[in-house]
Amino acid sequence: MLSRVANCLFWMSRYVERSENIARIVDVNLQLLLDFRDLDEHRLAEHWLPIIQATGDEEAFFKLHSKATGQTVTEFLVFQAENPNSIVSSISDARENARMVRDQITSEFWEELNRLYLFVRSRQARDLWNSSPFDFFQEIKATSLRLQGMADATLMRNEGWLFMQLGKYIERADKTSRILDVRYQTLPEHGVPKTIGQEEVLEWSAILNSCSAWDAYKSIHGAEVHPKLVAEFLLLSEDFPRSFEMCIEQFNQSLRKISAVPDGRFSNEAERLTGRLLAEVQFCTIDEVFERGLHQYLDDLQLKLNAIGAAIFTAYFFQSIKTMDEEIFVQQEEQQQQRAIQNEEFKMKNSGAIGTRVLNF
């Protein structure tokens, strides 16, 4: 598979996943506000700011807006074209990547993604967003799930598929860790909080909801919501498909299918780092996590994901270390050399008969 094509598939899939995750985060937090009373400006900023921080775009946000309010934050995360990670930007990027690899995906898949793209850029999208944000987000989430279902049901299980899986799972792992990090400021720096208040229960429930984990969580822990249980579930669950551990597990599997190198060994940096990260979350307890501090731990995980992303790029996508100018130079050198060899051969052939014939070059 062409490196450029693999790269496009990776990012197409990653951007689709990103748009879905952001849709869930904004949706859940908008609904959460409905449960709070006495909201003043300060409280609102307290609510929205961590969300911007969680998506990792704080700096970009304050370049465009002076205050974190519901209005500015949602605009920034949903429509703002200047935010490269807004929902509309993510969908546009996903679609742009898909456009470059249309021969690799099915027409159903392309048409669905293109439809979503046309929708989010249309007047109707704004209207729907104004009248019913819930329906707007529903549309985005449902389309993302449809796309995953279509990919699952119609795409060949070839290398391209594996790169799409890599994109999806690394993004999902990243977003799960970031969503879990949203309310770290209410936690002690080290150790587990003893009890939490009613408002925090709502906030940690919102975290579960943002990962579509509420029902799954309840089936294990009942109605009790506690940061330690929530973190354990979202980080270390072996069964929940959006938990950090499961994402890395899936990511690792796809990565190894590409190179056919078995577990326990590695053939490139991406495999080495992924294997090590997987072992880390497989053999870690939630108490250890809180002893170090949840925020610190999550920060580390994100750095490790970044390193893995960079390693994938080096291993599979970025083979050219040469610029166009350097490449032209290489060609000239090669052609020069061949000419020299030809001259040499010519001289050898004619060495016995110098002066008998003169050839023009």
Binding site: M1, L2, S3, R4, V5, A6, E96, R99, M100, R102, D103, S107, W110, E111, N114, R115, L118, E159, F163, I258, Y316, F317, Q319, S320, M324, E327, I328, V330, Q331, Q332, E334, Q335, Q338
Partner: protein, 489 residues
């Protein structure tokens, strides 16, 4: 429009006036031509409202599928659908047989011409074409003289534009022997029409077009370098921002080959490779949709970022084949066009089956004089432009435009030709409130491999603006599906 009007059966000829043009569907006496009769009967079963709905659903489907072209100079990255008119253009079997013979004759002659001017140049030595015209051709690649192209084929894919004049007589307007585009619309238009009028196809008897991709693939396999049994074929595109990018991905997908950009390819030891996740893999045949100028920055334009350094060297070494070959642009030159009938005579000893439009060469003194005296009546074209650019439509032009061309012609006569304004044939076309005549042309696609094959019909382009004669997509043109019948009725 009242409901009563929109729901009644669709007599598309009610109030339809052919004016003084040759109309494809309606004869001068107002009768429907025999090869449109069956279509007209079936079409009458659809109300105008239904028809309008189908038009809208096709437009929507095209937008959703991304059957679009990019609009240059638009920072929003706007893509537009190529407007599609649902009324098909119909060609009877006998007429198509004549066109097919004419096109085969023409491409055969063009190919012999290219081989000749890049080798012995007999046509020049025999005084049929002045040497100066060839040597001054912008797209003549003298570096390629005496280069042996695989299987002696230069133009593998040719789009030849045909028009019909006031009496319905067919003429060749121009040849596109570099990277003709538009064939994907032929295939997509057919799909759209099949969805819109499913019943008609079984009743009318229309020759299929779907085999195009297969024919093209076969012709590409045919030119593989010697000794390569199972060649790797790729389509080389300038990238996602090219106006024909949709077509590139479409064809690659239909043929089941990789679509690559210049940066995906690398040349080592005069062999071409593509960069894959498993390292470098050899490439043997390149269907390139990049002009000569941009192919290889070490040989042609050094500022090209689209090309592949060393590609031409590999091509010369015979390790990779290109379709179309390098240097075919000289056959596109509007001055060479003037000489095609003579080429046909010279190489094949035949008279052209489809004639040229009468043409004046500004570089011939007598012709230039005539052109300058008759500018307001003539169409003047720059010799090496395409897509409807660099053109003067005398009868429709302002005084300033005419004067601008007068200066340009005097300054660089080699670069201009003149032709009388042809009143292109018209075809009923869907407009806001019914149907009106609009001017059309036809671009058949000729594929030259082991044999020459032409997909029945081709792209019928239609000038959607009332009275306009410009059919190019970049200038307000649309397209129609083209039906070639199995019979004559």
């Amino acid at each position: 429009m009242t409901t009563e009007q929109t729901n009644k059966p669709n007599n598309l000829l009610e109030g339809y006036v052919p004016d003084n043009f040759f109309d494809e569907m309606v004869s001068g006496t107002g009768e429907v031509r025999p090869h449109y009769k069956r279509f007209q009967e079936l079409f009458a079963g659809i109300t105008l409202k239904e028809f309008t709905q189908r038009c809208q659903s096709v437009d929507l489907a095209f937008l959703r599928q991304g059957v679009t072209f990019n609009v240059y100079g638009d920072s929003q990255g706007t893509e537009k659908i190529f407007p599609f008119d649902l009324l098909p253009r119909i060609i009877p079997a006998s007429e198509w047989a004549m066109l097919e013979r004419g096109l085969v004759q023409r491409i055969t002659a063009l190919n012999l011409f290219l081989h000749d001017i890049y080798h012995e140049q007999k046509i020049v030595k025999d005084g049929v074409i002045p040497a100066s015209y060839i040597l001054s051709g912008k797209h003549f690649r003298r570096e390629f003289t005496n280069f042996q192209v695989p299987k002696d084929i230069y133009i593998h894919v040719c789009g030849t534009d045909l028009i019909r004049g006031g009496n319905g007589e067919w003429m060749v307007l121009e040849d596109n022997g570099r990277c003709p585009s538009g064939v994907s619309y032929v295939l997509e238009n057919r799909r759209a029409l099949k969805r819109s009028f499913p019943g008609m196809f079984e009743h009318i008897g229309i020759r299929p077009v779907e085999q195009y991709a297969e024919e093209l693939l076969k012709s590409l396999q045919y030119i593989a370098p010697a000794g390569v049994a199972d060649p790797t074929i790729v389509l080389l595109t300038p990238g996602a921002h090219n106006s024909a990018y949709f077509e590139h991905t479409y064809l690659a997908r239909q043929m089941g080959i990789e679509i690559v950009e210049g940066r995906d390819l690398v040349v080592r030891d005069t062999r071409v490779f593509m960069r894959t996740t498993k390292g470098l893999q050899p490439v043997h045949v390149i269907y390139r949709r990049i002009d000569d100028d941009f192919l290889d920055p070490t040989v042609f334009r050094p500022d090209s970022a689209l090309g592949v350094p060393g590609l031409i060297h590999a091509y010369r070494a015979g390790n990779v084949s290109l379709a179309n070959s390098v240097g075919t642009g000289i056959a596109d030159d509007k001055v060479m066009y003037y000489f095609v009938p003579r080429m046909i005579k010279y190489y094949l000893d035949q008279d052209p089956i489809i004639p040229n439009v009468p043409t004046y060469l500004a570089s011939e003194e007598a012709d230039k004089k005539y052109m300058l005296e008759h500018l307001p009546e003539l169409v003047v074209k720059a010799a090496n432009e395409s897509g409807g650019y660099g053109m003067l439509m005398g009868p429709k032009a302002s005084k300033e435009e005419i004067e601008k061309f007068r200066v340009a012609i005097e300054a660089d006569p080699r670069n201009y030709v003149g032709q009388p304004m042809i009143s292109l044939s018209r075809h009923p076309t869907h407009v806001d409130n019914g149907f009106e005549g609009r001017h059309i042309d036809l671009r058949p696609y000729i594929v030259y491999g082991e044999k020459i094959s032409i997909v029945p019909g081709g792209l019928t382009r239609v000038a959607l603006r009332k009275g306009s004669l410009v059919v190019n997509s970049s200038q307000g043109g649309g397209s129609k599906d083209t039906w070639v019948l199995y019979g004559d009725e």
